[in-house]
């Protein structure tokens, strides 16, 4: 081990490949699917599905491991964050199955993604009255014979439409077995697409990432096999975080793995805006002098240097959190640091880019305004800025969630 910022050849190759996809497959249709909200980008979906089924043979040899996954996410979100979220994959639902599922469950739910028609996975956590406060979940599950019966309404479910509609997909639903047990009663359940009782009742109209479907799903006596519970059915009333149950804890571990990717997605959107801005400035003959003395700097130079510093800080925090997973280290603190920083940075960078570009930045002729709209979700989903600050604060203060909330 040694401190190094040299990407492995594999990472370079992956970056190049995904950047080409971003340029050729995503950018040309980015505005279209922004305007045609809720429309499935069929051609892109098929392209990515085929691509995913035939991984390029060149990616062997030393790898940057999870950092490479982050680089991939950054490149594709540099292309378009909404379309990225539309890529058929098990997504967060898959991460939950991978983190908390048995081998049998992994095979049953994830193997279908190896071939056939495009499929999606999704995770359904949020409810109208339970956002950051997962313990407030009202959706219930109870056992009837050999089946779990789910009842409740889930909102803000990314890819919820696709996952619940297309064969082979599934939605991982968080529900409580016992409301009185708080977090200890919360379990996650795999609901396959088209399961009777799971209904798509709405799609959100959003500020940005309009190519991505954000669904409201209702579960009405939705029955799934007993074997679709992830982790154990035992309700621990004490401290579920220390109870060794793969249910809630596994689901939480999912976030440690997903937050670096989400942070990398944010970095991708930020880089899109920054790359474009720098290109425009260059066209206008405005150069950025990194070593100009302070009294000579223009406001734009300082802004751009700020943006570059902030974006790179976010990227490096992201890669660090990712790298810790490769090293088998717990990255709960670092993943939240990366997510908090990246979400904030991309919001600010894209807003600043619109400002510096002036009338061109505000116009929908260009994509700068779209990146600003897309960016803001990174401050909100997968744990808001505030939730990640809270996690970081608890860790650095060595406080439990009951001591600091």
């Amino acid at each position: 081990m040694a401190i190094s910022f040299e990407p492995a050849p594999n990472t370079v190759a992956a970056k190049e490949m995904y950047n080409r996809i971003a340029r050729e497959q995503m950018r040309p249709v980015a505005r279209k699917y922004d305007e045609q909200e809720h429309e499935m980008p069929l051609e892109f979906v098929r392209f990515m599905w085929e691509k995913g089924r035939s991984p390029p043979g060149s990616f062997t040899g030393p790898s940057d491991g999870f950092v490479q996954v982050c680089v991939q996410a950054e490149e594709l979100c540099w292309g378009d964050a909404g379309l990225y979220l539309r890529i058929p994959s098990p997504a967060l639902g898959g991460s939950a199955v991978a983190a908390a599922g048995t081998n049998e469950q992994k095979a049953r739910f994830l193997n279908p993604f190896r071939d056939g028609a495009p499929k999606w996975g999704a995770m359904a956590i949020t409810e109208a009255a339970a956002g950051s406060d997962a313990a407030a979940i009202q959706t219930t599950a109870h056992l009837e014979g050999e089946e779990w019966v789910l009842n409740g309404t889930k909102i803000f479910c990314t890819s919820g439409e696709a996952a619940s509609t297309f064969d082979g997909g599934f939605v991982v639903v968080w529900a409580t077995l016992d409301k009185s047990a708080g977090r200890g009663g919360i379990k996650s359940f795999v609901v396959p697409a088209k399961t009777p009782g799971m209904k798509l009742v709405g799609l959100e109209r959003k500020l940005g990432i309009r190519a991505s479907d954000t669904a409201t799903l209702v579960f009405e006596n939705c029955r799934i096999p007993k074997e679709n519970l992830l982790g154990s059915a035992e309700v621990k009333k004490a401290n579920p975080m220390q109870a060794g149950d793969k249910g809630f804890k596994g689901a939480m571990a999912t976030f440690d793995a997903s937050r670096p990717i989400v942070a990398a997605m944010a970095v991708g959107v930020g880089r899109a805006a920054l790359d474009f801005l720098k290109g425009e400035l260059e066209r206008e003959g405005v150069s950025i002098r990194y070593d100009a003395p302070a009294h000579e700097r223009t406001a734009i130079e300082r802004d751009v240097i700020d943006m570059e510093a902030e974006l790179q800080a976010a990227r490096l925090l992201t890669w660090r959190a990712a790298k810790m997973m490769d090293h088998g280290k717990r990255n709960n603190l670092e993943a939240s640091m990366a997510k908090a920083k990246a979400g904030l940075v991309v919001t600010k960078i894209t807003q600043k880019a619109v400002e510096i570009l002036g009338p061109l930045g505000y116009s929908q002729k260009l994509l700068a305004e779209k990146w600003m709209r897309d960016a803001k979700i990174n401050d909100i989903y997968e744990g808001t800025q505030q939730i990640n600050q809270l996690i970081v604060a608890r860790r650095i203060l060595d406080y439990s969630s009951s001591m600091l909330r």
């Binding site: 956002g131 940005g208 619109v354 002036g358 009338p359 116009s363 709209r373 803001k376 909100i380």
Partner: protein
């Protein structure tokens, strides 16, 4: 004597406009934004309230109560309802006020009584240009004298372009000095394309091309031979004060939604407003909004005093645009996922607020 209390008449205007903004403008805001279309009936009713006509000279049927401070008070309230609709309500100021202040007798006679008339008549002003290096005092759009006419060439953007606009005040450089020209909507050589922007979507704005547009020399603002450089400076200052006031209104609207949501929304058994992270954010919003408002008032007051308000107007706009963006962004953040969806208004406030750093002279006080 220093004082921060509106006069009784001003307070009456504030109360009236606020009520109108809350009851009529706000309710039409979301639909107008989604449809990218103005609610015509609301504009007519606003006109009946006399928001603009009260400021026009009595000689032409106006109320004669011209005051930039009053204008700023009204603009804040209108924008508190909705920015795009507010700018539409105020668009008559774009023609009427420059003509009232700098127009020739003939121009005043021709236009002012119409703006003070029974029906709402939108106005338009073409200042901003679609270029990175745009400088309002040195526009790239040119006006060249040719006999008894001026020939205008150039491109403009963010030009309010409502149905019913009859003429637009085009700011162009004559011998390097910015001057205003009254150009009819149907002037040969003038073409307009509706813009799509990040925000103020309900307000029809156009990108305007002027290709050899000819207007009689008497259509120069102030009439033939007038020097309009100071008029353009005045328009900029009045525009910036109006923008600052509107930015305060947008910020206040976003703040109130966030405040109310935070008191309502429960997590871990208590409203999120009881968490310091949220409560302090709301406190900062309130402080910044009040500070920006006072700066806008000061700049407006200086204009009313007839003093050079360039610095104060620039500072007020500078501060208010920052505050509006931060407050709107903060409101989205307070609402979390609900802030990101178009069922709630903060995302619209965020899109609108981001424009204040770029807008110029979208309405005047």
């Amino acid at each position: 004597m220093i004082d921060f209390e509106p006069s009784e008449e001003q307070q009456l205007i504030v109360d009236t406009v606020r009520q109108f903004a809350t009851n009529e403008i706000r309710k039409a805001a979301r639909e107008a934004d989604e449809a990218a279309a103005l609610p015509a009936a609301v504009l007519e009713r606003a006109h009946e309230l006399g928001v603009v006509s009260s400021a026009l000279p009595e000689a032409y049927g106006g109320g004669g109560a011209r005051s930039a401070v009053t204008g700023a008070l009204a603009a804040e309230e209108l924008a508190y309802g909705d920015l795009a609709i507010a700018l539409a309500v105020l668009s008559p100021t774009l023609l009427a006020l420059p003509i009232a202040d700098f127009g020739s007798a003939e121009q005043k006679k021709r236009w002012l009584s119409r703006f003070a008339g029974d029906r709402y008549l939108p106005g338009s002003l073409a200042l901003v240009e679609p270029a990175f290096r745009f400088d309002p005092l040195h526009p790239a759009t040119t006006a060249k004298r040719d006999g008894h006419e001026y020939v205008l060439d150039g491109a403009k953007c963010f030009v309010p372009w409502q149905d019913g606009v009859e003429a637009v005040l085009v700011i162009a450089a004559e011998d390097g000095e910015a001057q205003g020209f009254l150009v009819p909507r149907d002037a040969p050589g003038l073409s307009a394309a509706r813009e799509k922007n990040l925000g103020i979507r309900a307000l029809p704005t156009a990108e305007l091309w002027l290709r050899g547009v000819r207007v009689p020399a008497s259509e120069k603002l102030g009439g033939e031979g007038a020097r309009g450089d100071s008029a353009v400076r005045e328009i900029l200052n009045r525009g910036r004060v109006a923008l600052a006031a509107c930015a305060v209104g947008v910020a206040r609207a976003a703040f109130e939604i966030a405040r109310d949501y935070a008191k309502e929304r429960q997590t871990f058994g208590a409203p999120i407003a009881t968490r310091q992270a949220i409560a302090f954010k709301l406190a900062d919003m309130a402080i910044e909004i009040d500070g920006a408002r006072l700066l806008a008032w000061e700049a407006a007051w200086k204009i009313d005093e007839g003093r050079d308000a360039t610095r104060e107007a620039a500072i007020a706009r500078h501060q208010a645009q920052r505050v509006a963006l931060e407050v709107a962004d903060g409101a989205v953040q307070v609402l979390g996922g609900h802030g990101y969806i178009r069922e709630y208004l903060p995302e619209m406030h965020l899109r609108n607020a981001r424009g204040f750093c770029t807008f110029e002279a979208l309405s005047l006080v």
